[in-house]
Symmetry: C2
Subunit: 474 residues, 2 copies
């Protein structure tokens, strides 16, 4: 029996949410009052009903439950890659990159790529989510194409960045391995539509599908994220089981008992009180890139000009990535003394995966000696507690999500928790949390600048821009 099939073990891995420090009772005048909550009860109930009604349309919610077959296929492919390759390069951007990066950082050795092959047990992982020419060239300097698999990920097959990289990788492979280039590319894309599936079919590339209705930032738990994770030796079944477990906890109708709904309700109340900034501050290097993944999820889902009713609202709360304890020496001065414009979400860990003692060495210097004998574990946890206390004492708002351990199960919980928090926040704000109309303008302008057929009008629009005023240049 796998451990996640044991309900008792699952319950022992349940994430905990503590929002005492959001509430007026503890945080003082800027805190949220009980009354504010009660006044919204009907709104929360209605939103919870809509979440239930819309469940079948939120295809990403089905991912933890309906992928038995594809998981097996992924595991087989991953086993082959692990045995035969030195490098696994994800070519993708946004949701195709941030999830794979976050999960690998959380669950692999913290310096995975630097380990000797035998310790790593699989290929190095590179996630190339930029088109900087220097970065492309530097990748070329550290991989052997003949021992590399490129996993090209774009649902639409029209992402300029990723398709450019595919062109680059294709040419590189042809040069290195000739006709065998096709064996070095795995496509992850829509099953029917777009250029990538066309290319994949024409060249008989190994292919995984992004399920219909699963958008980029909600795609970590489909092949987009699962293949890279499995290639790194991560237990993707456990990851999905953790998400399924959290989905169960968050199917509770009552916001007071539903961690995702409560987190969303708190953020939205805080937004209404002027907190337009949402800081995510994990106290674990393993979780640091969860902040990047969360930043896309929260920003792209809630940053919307129009409400569903067509009114212009310019909604959105800006996510900020921080890392404990590191950013205590960078951001906490602002968090404690600055404006009352942010909610800080601490991510804590009960049990780190190792214990390291702070040894004795300079016992005659009492200002240093008091540290000796403690563990780094105790130090980081004391600092988290101390920072929570300092933020509270300064009257600023925070809440804490605690993982009993960082493992595939708890990470699956966390991913599902944030996804559901985001979807529920969208309901409360009355917006469409699943589209991204605001990125179209930039895409079109890029097409026009690069001379893509059909964008002649946009090109003319760009050419007709008023000249820059030299007075505003130094």
């Amino acid at each position: 029996m796998k451990r996640f099939e044991d309900r008792q073990w699952c319950d022992s891995m349940r994430l905990r949410v503590d929002y005492n420090n959001m509430m007026r009772e503890f945080a003082g005048q800027h805190g949220i009052s009980e009354d504010a909550f009660s006044a919204r009860k009907a709104q929360y109930d209605a939103a919870a009903c809509r979440m239930e009604e819309k469940r079948s349309t939120m295809k990403w919610r089905a991912l933890p439950f309906q992928q038995k077959e594809v998981v097996q296929e992924i595991q087989e492919t991953a086993a082959w890659v692990r045995a035969n390759c030195d490098a696994f390069v994800v070519l993708g951007i946004g949701g195709s990159a941030l999830g794979p990066i976050a999960v690998q950082q959380a669950l692999s050795h913290l310096r995975y790529n630097e380990l000797p092959t035998e310790k790593r047990g699989g290929p190095k992982l590179y996630v190339e989510d930029n088109v900087d020419p220097e970065r492309m060239a530097s990748l070329r300097d550290v991989i052997d194409p003949a021992r590399t698999i490129f996993n090209v990920i774009t649902k639409s097959g029209s992402t300029s960045e990723t398709m450019s990289q595919l062109l680059w990788a294709t040419a590189l492979l042809k040069e290195s391995v000739g006709e065998a280039w096709r064996d070095h590319i795995i496509a992850t894309t829509d099953a029917e539509k777009g250029n990538l599936i066309k290319i994949a079919k024409e060249n008989a590339l190994r292919t995984f599908y992004v399920p219909d209705g699963v958008g980029g930032r909600f795609s970590e738990l489909c092949p987009v994220g699962l293949l890279a994770a499995a290639v790194c030796g991560i237990d993707i079944e456990e990851l999905l089981a953790g998400a399924a477990y959290m989905d169960g906890l968050c199917s509770e109708h009552d916001v007071l008992k539903n961690p995702a709904y409560m987190l969303a309700a708190l953020e939205v109340l805080a937004m209404e009180q002027g907190c337009n900034i949402s800081v995510l501050m994990p106290y674990a290097d393993s979780l640091r890139f969860m902040s990047d993944w969360y930043a896309q999820l929260w920003a792209e889902s809630l940053g919307k000009r129009y409400a569903l009713d067509g009114s212009e609202i310019h909604a959105g709360q800006t996510p900020v990535k921080a890392l404990g304890v590191t950013d205590q020496h960078s951001q906490v001065q602002l968090y404690t003394e600055g404006p009352f414009d942010k909610v800080i979400t601490f991510l804590g860990v009960d049990r780190y995966r190792t214990e390291v003692v702070i040894p004795h060495a300079y016992d005659h210097i009492s200002d240093v000696a008091f540290l000796s004998g403690h563990t780094f574990n105790a130090l980081i946890q004391a600092e988290q507690l101390a920072t929570e206390y300092a933020v509270l004492k300064s009257g600023h708002l925070s809440k804490t999500i605690t993982l009993p351990e960082v493992n595939a199960f708890t990470l699956g919980e966390l991913i599902c928790l944030f996804e559901l928090q985001t979807a529920f926040a969208g309901e409360l704000l009355g917006i469409d949390a699943f589209n991204q109309p605001g990125v179209e303008e930039g895409k079109k302008a890029t097409y026009a600048l690069l001379g893509k057929p059909g964008y002649e009008q946009k090109k003319a629009e760009l050419a007709a821009r008023p000249a820059r005023n030299a007075r505003y240049q130094i």
Copy 2:
């Protein structure tokens, strides 16, 4: 003659600031009006006068000019380290870490640590700015202590994180190399005060000094940052020359001609219009960690509860780190459609250090083929332009700083530019930009929790906290 001794070359490397897209003339109703500027003229002049008066008290401003001897000493030490070591580990946090990380990312190969030794030409660089036990253990897995130098950096010698790491490194070295452990530690600290200088003297450690009056976040251009840079083969004389050049440009009294003052004036005007968020978005992987360095500088300097006149103001603008083009697929939806609460500063580059062509491969698919034949250079620059355009068109504010190239000289310029921008913003806000009283509370609470002598009262205060309300836990 070194190239930075040629004024013409320096001028060809001058950073350019363009703030057209901040102004009402271009950005529309949320833009800054000419009148707002004119109305502040006297304030700007007064602040510029104070900057001149205070120049001698801002000791960090002297760094580009007064370090001939120490630079030579650093270069000698660096040459020895480069010849004799496999790893150079910085033990430091905040200003002792963010500068070294940013400079190395900007000026070394983008995958420096992964290069074979002969290509790298020097040791691997690790900057350990957290006390996560998993991270400490993972460092142990990839270094050979007998071939490693630890550079412990803390001006005060009382930074718990860094001193804990020193204890750990000391024990590790004693175990590995016995009495020779002293040859593997370089201390960078205050010349007179604190525990680290005491330990350094007792053990005859090689030592560099943090000059008097140079605070953590303004210390990159002293031995704190210069040693790690030199160890990575970076031309630190050129770095300092670039800073000196920018200091010259920013000695201009008139805000309209002074890039640092203008950047500060724009941010402060925007803050007054409700922009409490400052995004820094470089379009270059090499510059991505400049955003982390800037985030500390801006947050810790301006995030202040009290003004110099004693009034309670809770000042501060929250820095946000973004990366172009990557975050176009994560944050730009929010930037274009969300609230009018942010200023975006784009960092562009005229000439990347390499050119990579997007090759032909699928010419029969026109939606992909239009990319072929362009360079990644053209692609990333078109995307920057397109994003600037989309942000402008949506009525949001942005400005652009352009580096002709990324090299030690232009990076020195950029560091100096942001430092002076920050100092001038402090003047405009009427705050002390050089202290950080808000981090004391958390430090004291950590000391209390770890049982440091003298913190019994704080311990009692913590113990007396009201119990958490179980209702606010899920």
